[in-house]
């Protein structure tokens, strides 16, 4: 891993089209500005991992899981209406 030290307002360039700027540092949090082409996906790594896990969980769901969920939701709705 390449390790660079940067001060506030300083930038890092990745290739021709990506610029990362250190905007501020406050109480252990770093604010980073990212300029990148629109088609490039940029998001927090933990969000990506969460989505990956949700997709993996969803891919294991079966037709009968969904059918019973539908029944349970209907039941919940009926109970509410009573």
């Amino acid at each position: 891993m390449l390790i660079l030290s940067r001060k506030i307002e300083e930038e890092i360039k990745i290739g021709d089209s990506i610029t990362i700027k250190i905007l501020g540092i406050h109480e252990g949090q770093v604010r980073i500005g990212i300029d990148a082409p629109k088609d490039l996906k940029v998001f927090r790594a933990e969000i990506y991992q969460q989505i990956q896990k949700e997709n993996a969980d969803a891919s294991k769901v079966t037709k009968s899981d969904v059918a019973s969920a539908v029944q349970m939701l209907k039941q919940k709705k009926n109970n509410k209406e009573k």
């Binding site: 969000i47 949700e54 769901v61 899981d65 059918a67 539908v70 939701l73 919940k76 709705k77």
Partner: protein, 137 residues
């Protein structure tokens, strides 16, 4: 055209209904061709069925109509439909839908993407039971 999926068996479909996902789904980047499948027992949920991996499918729920504010805020095109990936757990209260990174289908050119919306109000694990209005239809 024909395709066999382990859950849905042999399916016949029209080539014009094939959806192309140039980037696949997050964590499932290899699968690029999908169909949206309606299954009577799963209504109002739908299924996103891979046309490349026989054991790959995802339950979905459409939310363009119930959450039109999200549609209006992030997507300018009219020909866009939003689906959330649904994760069903043994306890219905633990089941969730992912509103943070919807499946966006362009109904005109037949492409799909899983996007990540920059909105802290939207949750990857939104309880399904808070979303049950879809069953009122």
């Amino acid at each position: 055209m024909k395709w066999t999926n382990i859950q849905f068996g042999e399916m016949e479909y029209d080539a014009k209904h094939v959806l192309t996902f140039p980037d696949g789904l997050i964590g499932f980047e290899e699968s690029k061709k999908f169909l949206i499948v309606h299954d009577v027992d799963s209504e109002p949920f739908r299924w996103l069925v891979s046309l490349e991996e026989q054991d790959l499918s995802f339950p979905l729920v459409e939310f363009s109509n119930t959450h039109s504010e999200i549609l209006g805020k992030y997507f300018s095109q009219e020909n866009v439909t939003l689906f959330a990936v649904v994760s069903i757990k043994p306890e219905i209260d633990d089941s969730t839908i992912n509103l943070k990174s919807p499946i966006v289908i362009d109904t005109v050119n037949g492409t799909g993407r899983q996007v990540v919306l920059d909105d802290d109000q939207l949750n990857v694990r939104t309880p399904l039971v808070t979303f049950s209005p879809v069953l009122a239809e």
